[in-house]
Symmetry: D2
Subunit: 167 residues, 4 copies
Amino acid sequence: MTPLPTWHCSVTVAAGGRNVDNDAASADRRIRTSFARQGLMRTLGATLGKVTSGQVEIVLVPKPEVSQQHGFVHAGAVSAIADSAAGYAALSMMPMDRGVLTTEFKINLLAPAMGERIVARGRVVKAGRTLTLAQTEVFAENEGKEQLIALLTATLMAIEGREGIAD
Amino acid sequence: MTPLPTWHCSVTVAAGGRNVDNDAASADRRIRTSFARQGLMRTLGATLGKVTSGQVEIVLVPKPEVSQQHGFVHAGAVSAIADSAAGYAALSMMPMDRGVLTTEFKINLLAPAMGERIVARGRVVKAGRTLTLAQTEVFAENEGKEQLIALLTATLMAIEGREGIAD
Amino acid sequence: MTPLPTWHCSVTVAAGGRNVDNDAASADRRIRTSFARQGLMRTLGATLGKVTSGQVEIVLVPKPEVSQQHGFVHAGAVSAIADSAAGYAALSMMPMDRGVLTTEFKINLLAPAMGERIVARGRVVKAGRTLTLAQTEVFAENEGKEQLIALLTATLMAIEGREGIAD
Amino acid sequence: MTPLPTWHCSVTVAAGGRNVDNDAASADRRIRTSFARQGLMRTLGATLGKVTSGQVEIVLVPKPEVSQQHGFVHAGAVSAIADSAAGYAALSMMPMDRGVLTTEFKINLLAPAMGERIVARGRVVKAGRTLTLAQTEVFAENEGKEQLIALLTATLMAIEGREGIAD
């Protein structure tokens, strides 16, 4: 096994339509308020990490309650925090009168999810008027090291003036 | 809005390598034993429905504990039961000394997940020696009617002789 | 290797908004006219097969011009006909003033694409006002037998009144 | 519309099993030899750009021969170069006795593909013994500017000692 280099990529976020670069404080407040309403996140024991406009972090501590049959964190739990991180990254750039719904996502699972903490980092790749593409990298943290264990891409749809769909 | 027809498709399951058409009783027993070890399914309150070789059903009753911020069932919870249904459909066709791990899935979310019950029906599309493709249709049941709310395709990898990875 | 059963699934197509069950003759005419404008299909040598409202078939004959490095049909060529079949299945159910664009697709490649003919059969899974989900099964035909070699799911976006985007 | 920041991400490439960091010159030679055998790339008029170990660039000039019905580059042609770029990024890190086959990919199409050149840049996200995950960003170049128009993630399977499957 050969040591391998670290690649760097940069993705330019291009906003379409009315998407906005909300200031960090208001984005943070908005996302925390909505996150507190996600019953599933509470049930899983997931917590919100760092939030900025276009980027959201969600943390999950492995435990038997979120496991699959081999004791690893269930792909469904990994997907749940990765999807929420992508969705909230998108929501953080929406005008205040619009919500978002996930229309599809794909996740590649690269290694069994285990360790001290599972950290999902979502970011907006392209913000459009109707559809936003976001991507989440999921890392397992162990003894101060991070390993990439999953990669998700999600399409989020902006919802406006539909009853029951707000932040 | 025009009433539209019902399409019928048929997918031939082709087995590669050592995959087997396990008899229904042993497939059922095997999957129930493994399902009981998935802490996440218990945490979500999901239950196993009908199991046959190559097809597995998982049921989730909507409740605040599995919700997203608008009160619908969280896409992550829908994905979790859909992924498990796909994985167990694959496992039901594996020789007894092999387990499976999800390597990737994609889910399209077609309508908000709400109703009396959410039912995920997974089936094997193609069983291969290393990789198996499975597909899960997720329905919302309400007043005796079913609506397709999500469609997932997943790749499962057969795992043999790897410590800690069995059924 | 054990002979395995054939599964049958049925997917109800539910129309949202203004989607229509165009009559077979007009759907056929509309799709053939548009298909003739797809330069790529002509370049690949792909031809249109059976067309009905919500279902479209595209055929490709393997040849060196569409191959990858091992001589099989390139995944990109398989994807191209599978995507077109999905897109035209969606278009066949659109009102006459609306076009469609693919916003995303995923394809699972199950076996090397080779044989006498590669046949992509797209059908609408759910027709919505803004987004339509379609699925394409791709088969390799050889000596009178069909083998499923790829499965694609695609999201198509309805486009209305946007210059340059019609059928 | 607000000007938006550029995000930076870094993905650590972790090699499993026998994957290697082939030197740039031999990776370049290997990929060029194989690319010359892909009949589809020649048919599309695609050319190989910069090649390093783990990263491969493919370029396509828009023209009627690769168009869809509105005159944009067909999603299938965009997918073809994006898939080849991902596959060759994976191959560039394989030992010399192993080839790769794409087992699945998903592509999100963010904007109509048009401009002077379409450039697909594939890179390995995680190289594993059996499966490698690669990601391709596709840009449209116009008047010296690049716009991200598509994002693909692909799973490549290492193939060893299988007749007809080499580079």
